[in-house]
Amino acid sequence: MGTGLAGASLCATLGEAGYQVSSFCFQDSPRRAHSIAAQGGINATKNYQNDGDSVWRLFYDTIKGGDFRARESNVYRLAELSGNIIDQAVAQGVPFAREYSGYLANRSFGGTQVSRTFYARGQTGQQLLLGAYQAHSRQLENEHVSHQSRAEMLELIMVEDKARGVVVRDLVSGEISAHTADCVILCTGGYSNAFYLSTNAKGCNTSATWRAYKQGAYFANPSFTQIHPTCVPPTGENQSKLTLMSESLRNDGRIWAPKNIEDCEKNPADIKEEDRDYFLERMYPAFANLVPRDVASRAVKHICDQGHGVGSKIHGQRLGVYLDFSAIIEKLGLEAVAEKYGNLFDMYSSITGEDPYQTPMKIYPAPHYTMGGLWVDYNLMTTIEGLFAGGEANFSDHGANRLGASALMQGLADGYFILPKTVANYLANSNLVDVDDTHPQVTQSLKTVKDRIHQLMNAPTPKHSPEYFHQKLGKVLWEACGMSREVDRLNQAIGEIAELESQFWQNIKVTGVDQDLNQTLERAGRVADFIELGKLMCQDALMREESCGAHARVEYLSESGEAKRDDDDFSFVGAWEYKPEQPMLRKEQLNYEFIEPTVRNYK
């Protein structure tokens, strides 16, 4: 399920190995998956720059970046595989940036001090996805893989406690069909859209992973969600999504806010140099503008909360700080800067109507990536036998915070190199009974899906659209479970979400019919799942009485806003098992054999 980087690369590799694979995606083509929007780059330990990079160093950086909440073994394997991904992509013709010599170019990227990031201008995700999509297409032509676009998974079929297929809705005809298989692999991405406004594509959803959770797959660290520091600030209340400006911009742009609150309304050109507070450089002199995302996001929020934000006021507050390129333009010239960031600047200017070559960009943090996801073992298998999860859909590698340029790396490592081996191993060692479409479990799963759709289409007192509920949920989650979390607010949010859930099933209004292309119905199903997930996110954030990485509990922050980890009590993965009354917490203790957890210090 899902044909983004992880899914498409996995289908391609399994197809090459001779397996018969059926793939599905909800978009109109696998090439639209949101992996395409990744801008900055992909990390690999090639050490082409001879700046001391190594497998160990990437391993260490990733564990440290994740604030010591990731599993060592998985991360080490990821670092080992990183180089193979670049080889594979180059052989496919992915046009990475190159030096005049013809060799591959690298740049440094958020949270690291070596240049190990490979990039294709600001469109690295697009280029890597097209490579994987083409490899997937090759297997379609060879008939090892069959594919259905505009199809959404609505249930997992379980036979004898094993994952044996999926129920899918054809989004064009509305037809519900069952697809049985020897195993099921979810590469369905993350759940940032629970916040309503995020940098994810509008269609990104949790439905596949949530169906799996409700069938018994543990959901790990749901509250570990990353807020990306460099996004275009929201401008109004009818906004449908937020847009990311690549973190690579922080390499050359300097972040500042006015020192004096009365300057916040001024044109930035009229604010004198000495009245500008380059707060990241001031607070974190060693890493300055390149501190990890969670640190940068909290610093930006802190500055805006103190009233030093810029841009238009929303609910009485200015949500934005400046990202200024004037120094680098002066140093390298307009042309060089345009070559590096041209498409990002164009994008910014089209969204805001302002020219970032002339006026500093305005940025503000936005939900961007979810480190949490389905719990998987070293083989990327969930707690349900025969159900695997890859890419952002699993929790495996990023701990409590993901470093820049490592999502593409993880998706492709899972898809090209890890899952093809572990899935093959599972199939070779399993005794599977024959399951066809007439199996009672298949019939039952089909019925469950049809009943649910009937319920969505026929609420007792239809009143509000899915969008209405989604916006409400997003607001609660952003305030209670966003950049900072606090016990009372979380408790309150859990109550509010429970109330929202009952209102949803009472008042959801879906117009049109279900046997048709009906985007309102699609949205309603996704929002229903987001509501349930939102509650679990808050429960997880409440349970974790510490701050780590992106999870900032205000009770456990130092005076300067740094996360205060509690390794004695919380050095574990919080994996939740579905129970009809209350989810049950299962702990996977994290044992650090090779790296000693330290205080994450970027000063």
């Binding site: 690369s9 391609a12 590799t13 978009q27 109109d28 083509s29 090439r31 639209r32 998956a33 395409i36 929007a37 082409y48 193979n84 080889d87 594979q88 180059v90 052989a91 496919q92 013709g93 046009p95 940036a97 005049y100 013809g102 060799y103 201008r121 469109q123 697009q126 097209l130 999509y133 083409q134 490899a135 297409s137 032509e141 676009s149 064009v172 940098t199 594509a201 509008k202 401008t235 109004g236 009818n238 906004q239 449908s240 999504k241 847009t243 990311l244 994008m347 089209s350 969204i351 109507g353 090209y416 190199f417 659209s465 969008e467 117009t511 049109g512 048709d516 292309l517 009906n518 309102t520």
Partner: protein, 235 residues
């Protein structure tokens, strides 16, 4: 801002469609075009009516899902952009907007403003890839590509596969604002042979009316797309 919208409504590919007129008021100039349609859909839900179906996903101009012909222009009249990157301030001098789906034989209408673009996937599946097995690739820096070629290849590879090329070729018999650059070919070997297979197959199997003919230039042992020509072929 207030607008009169004439929007193409069509139940499915078998039933004839028509323009339906809607009025939408109090739109903020920073609202995106698609957000304006979202607001219209919310109004339709409030009136118990079926929503207008249109394709979208990333809403940041990269996935290629959004389409729409606005006042006769695919992706609106702003150059080199996608519909999701249009903002209502771009329409501040207009009060009446006509919104239609892509109209091309290879993109049949599914419903309202949504069309079926499977033809693109079919083209890629017919040879639009490099035949390299996972794990068999040599060390990345063993294949040198001079910067100029790499940049050219990149320029050819940025196509987002949204579709107006066929539209433009059919409508105006000239290349479109966002030319379909067959990104699939990038710098790969034996591309010339592949491109021939693609064309033949497309014509027969998918009844494509217009095709893109690609001229390829040989640079050392790396092929790079250099120039694009658009050719109208009789069906």
């Amino acid at each position: 801002m207030n607008f009169t919208l004439h929007i193409w409504r069509q139940k499915n590919g078998d039933i004839k469609g028509d323009f339906v007129t809607y009025q939408i008021d109090n739109i903020d100039e920073d609202t995106s075009f698609l957000e304006m349609l979202d607001q219209l859909n919310e109004q339709l839900i409030a009136k118990d009516q079926d929503c207008i179906v249109f394709d979208y996903d990333c809403r940041e101009g990269i996935c290629g899902a959004c389409s729409l012909v606005i006042n006769g222009y695919p992706h609106g009249d702003k150059k080199a952009t996608t519909t999701c990157q249009l903002y209502m301030r771009d329409y501040k001098h207009q009060t009446e907007l006509w919104v239609e789906p892509w109209r091309a034989e290879s993109f049949p209408v599914i419903k309202d403003l949504t069309v079926d673009r499977t033809s693109f996937d079919n083209i890629i599946q017919s040879g639009g890839y490099v035949s390299v097995h996972t794990g068999s690739a040599p060390e990345a820096n063993a294949l040198l590509v001079d910067k100029h070629s790499a940049d050219e290849a990149f320029n050819s590879a940025t196509c987002i596969g949204c579709g107006p090329v066929l539209l433009y070729v059919q409508m105006h018999q000239q290349p479109c604002l966002l030319p379909l650059k067959l990104h699939t070919y990038r710098y790969c070997h034996k591309v010339r042979l592949k491109s021939k297979i693609v064309h033949k197959k497309c014509l027969i199997k998918w009844k494509l009316k217009a095709l893109v003919v690609v001229q390829i230039i040989d640079i050392v042992n790396v092929y790079v797309l250099k120039e694009f020509r658009f050719l109208i072929l009789p069906r």
